[in-house]
Amino acid sequence: MAALTFAVARPVPARPRPKARRHLTGWAFVGPATLIVVGLSLFPAVWAFFISRAKWNGITAGVPVGWGNYQQLAQDPDMLAAARHTLLLTVFFVPLSIGLGIVVAIALNQRIRLIGFYRTCIFVPYVASAAATGILASFVFNPQFGAANDVLRHLGIPQQQFLESPSQALYVIVLIALWGEVGFTTVIYLAALQDIPKELVEAATMDGAGRWRVFRHVTLPELRPVTVFAAVWQTITAVQLFDLIYTTTRGGPLNSTQTVVYYIYELAFQTQRLGYGAAAAYLLFVVTLLLTLVIVWYSRRRGSEVF
């Protein structure tokens, strides 16, 4: 309104802009970025669906097979094993990264000496690439001369094979992923902790609540929206984990760390089964989407709206 009165009051009115020009200006601002984002996500995602309904090696003409790839996937032992590995990885990684994030955030929220030093140390692995982290981890967990076995030796625990053992490798990868990602959950919990109104804690303390009860009944409920977000986010991170597996085990030993995403990569780029790989990707997408919806639905029922 203020703009209008001003414009009228001026001796030379602003040049009238035709409607078309306004739309054009709008699209000139948002067009390029929108085009890139949609062109690199929505468009290929739709294309992937058509690829998933064909038997195709990317070179010769594809043969349409309808839902054939999906039916075959349901009976593919490698796919089932990969799904199991992805599930295991997620089940361990998500709660641990959230639990550790809360504990470390509470510790870092204390006003004690060296706190700046602690924060720097704990956040720094987050900026290291997953590829470099994987290479560093295969050094630290080297069974012959790695530091991990040296620590075990000091503790009197027998030497382990770690990434070279089919029964341990997946869990070692969970540990490495935690090392790289706890900085992230810690940061968001730290921000959430600092947003909790001080009066809330003071009031509870005045009412005679001990430290534990304040934490249990005041702090934790306040953190719930962040926890829902972190659960969704970390689930996505765990399901999509690729770089770390590529630079530590490449799916081995004996396929024990072959996750669905890694299997898709192998199908598409090692064995050139593009249609089958795309079908596996869609299957995983639908499953994770359902999983996300369940988490969100469950949290809504518990009464914390975040999405």
Binding site: A2, A3, A14, R22, W27, A28, F29, V30, P32, T34, I36, V37, V38, P44, A45, W47, A48, G58, V103, V104, A107, I112, L114, Y118, T120, F123, V124, P125, V127, A128, S129, A131, I135, L136, A137, F139, V140, F145, G146, A147, R153, F184, V187, I188, A192, V226, F229, I236, F242, D243, Y246, T247, V260, V261, A268, A278, A281, L284, F285, L289
Partner: protein, 272 residues
């Protein structure tokens, strides 16, 4: 300053801090050891003498200097493109009124739901069709703009009071000039967050260059190291030197601009 009393939290934080930072220290120190020294058990943290063989081999026997240059180029292009494209788009979605705005913004936001594994195959095929396989473009095209960046900038522009721009528009300033000379200078903090986000994503990216680039001289550092590790996985001093090269630029940036990095992590956590 008053001395704070000793807190039991140190018993948790000190070991944790060492656990997080010691592997990185070991990485740095190992790059200055000889392979003979590395292959000893128990392992040593401090090198007995300064060995530069690993670094020398890395820089002369591999294409690492080239990879470093490629990584710098890819990140520079990504950050620049992100700053230009996402700030204009964010402003458009926040302030301009035009047909299709609501739908376009919804579509952009919805794309964050699409996971990377769904995109691997069609993106590779798309890159092949437009002829950027085995070029550096394959590494930076995925980072030219992002839904996260557009969203971040839009949120920021929505939080600015509109009066400033209105005054400029009435004075006959066009939309573009208003944006350039009035709005953008106010957007420095958001732009810095965006730059950090893009730098982290593009510098650390492994997947896109890995699937689209097979020419050794076009590798980024991440791909170069991952490939090098696959073929010569026992040359630890060389590998660790490469790792230092791949991580230290960002670690140094983090140490210098810690606040900015943490703001970025927090934003991508709470709003992303």
């Amino acid at each position: 300053m008053r001395r704070l009393p000793f807190s039991p939290w140190h018993f948790l934080l000190m070991p944790l801090a060492l656990l997080f930072v010691l592997p990185l220290v070991q990485m740095l120190l190992t790059s200055f050891m000889s392979n003979a020294e590395i292959n000893q058990f128990p392992p040593k943290l401090i090198p007995t003498a300064l060995h530069l063989e690993g670094w020398r081999a890395l820089l002369s026997e591999t294409n690492a200097p080239r990879w470093l240059l490629n990584s710098i180029l890819v990140s520079a292009v990504s950050v620049l493109a992100h700053l230009v494209l996402c700030s204009t788009a964010g402003y458009g979605f926040a302030r301009l009124k035009f047909a299709g705005r609501g739908v376009a913004f919804m579509v952009v936001v919805a794309t964050v739901m699409i996971p990377i594994q769904l995109l691997m195959i069609p993106t590779y095929l798309m890159f092949a069709r437009i002829g950027i396989v085995d070029t550096l473009a394959a590494a930076f095209v995925p980072w030219l703009a992002s839904a996260f960046g557009i969203f971040l900038m839009r949120q920021f522009f929505l939080s600015l009071p509109a009066e400033l721009e209105e005054a400029a528009l009435i004075d006959g300033c066009g939309r573009w000039r208003t944006f350039r000379s009035i709005v953008l200078p106010l957007a420095r903090p958001a732009m810095a967050t965006l730059a950090v986000f893009t730098l982290l994503s593009s510098w650390n990216d492994l997947l896109w260059p890995l699937i689209a680039i097979s020419d050794d001289s076009r590798f980024t550092l991440q791909v170069g190291l991952a490939t090098f590790q696959g073929t010569r996985h026992t040359e630890w001093s060389q590998l660790m030197a490469g790792n230092v090269l791949a991580t230290m630029p960002l670690i140094l940036a983090f140490l210098l601009a810690q606040r900015r990095f943490i703001a970025t992590m927090t934003f991508s956590g709470l709003k992303g």
